[in-house]
Symmetry: C2
Subunit: 211 residues, 2 copies
Amino acid sequence: MKVKEMMDKNFVFVSPEDTIVDVSIRLENAKRFTTPVVDNEMKLIGWITTFDITKGFRENKKLIKEVMSPKDDIKYLHENDPARLAVIETSKSRLVSIPVLDENDAVKGVIRAFEIVDTLSSLYEVKVSKLYEAMHKQLKGVTWDELMDAAAIVTTRVTGKKTKAKDYEERIKNSTFGEAIWTTGGLESFFVGLIAVGELVIARKVGKARK
Amino acid sequence: MKVKEMMDKNFVFVSPEDTIVDVSIRLENAKRFTTPVVDNEMKLIGWITTFDITKGFRENKKLIKEVMSPKDDIKYLHENDPARLAVIETSKSRLVSIPVLDENDAVKGVIRAFEIVDTLSSLYEVKVSKLYEAMHKQLKGVTWDELMDAAAIVTTRVTGKKTKAKDYEERIKNSTFGEAIWTTGGLESFFVGLIAVGELVIARKVGKARK
């Protein structure tokens, strides 16, 4: 996944000659705390946050160019950068948004923290049943019922609570990968549970084949 | 994981009697676009964004209480809510931050979008080798070399590119779960690959035991 697949292309941008008053109204209406400052060719020349605006109001400044941060002081990404870079920069530099440039330094989009939350959380929202369906498809010769039986046995063993295959099947229809990770205590633990199910179901399959 | 484990406890808060000028300086210094408004008992009574501040400056307002949003218009969470709720609210309502209350409606912390990015991305940063180590621990009687051999065989089969066990081992030391998901095309595909490795290694173990 690249930065350009994650960025917002309908972003607000302003000119260095715009007034602080006008930009304050535009940012309020668009609910944007930050915005890129661009020249006539859409090239990035600066960055404005609402902090620059409030400071400008107090100090009686008039134009955006008087209060903006210059390009050199800004974090930015290129549209073909891996999306992972946007995640790392947001987390490390605690940014609300990052401008995205093309090869000519023209602004093509903005990545905001909640777009990252959207992307990351969509992974969390994958249903656990989808993972079992993928497992079922991979493990040829194993039926869905055999898989659920094995999962119920492993769950009973790990939790100490008697779990039936039907109840397990019902549970994974509604539970997400994110919940499962938090419930089992981390990605590795969740994953070990699934491997244990795979191991058991394969052992049973081999056992059947021998008979 | 609960909201209280994810929230920032060192948050900025303001009083309804504070002046807009003072609060604008505090928010600029702390780099906070939003802040809760609390009474003397730390109870949440309103919310301020820098949009309220810029509008207040334009309209010559003086005090926070003249420009704040009342509590009824604010999204908030309780400290014992599941952390997942914070993720969903941030993503759905496109919020930069959400105040967190205790059972007496006192503000105990603030959850901001980049805290969520931090938490979610820590999952992405788990090394793929950690997952193989978990798998190795679970699959008793299978050596690490046998596991890497199986992984190299499955990778060769899936990608069509001859992959050696040693090269595969080197690669997973540096690659993360997040990268692996994006490379393989999603959580299910990544997972199917691992199950295929598990299946192969178990089949080989059973084959060996029969000899």
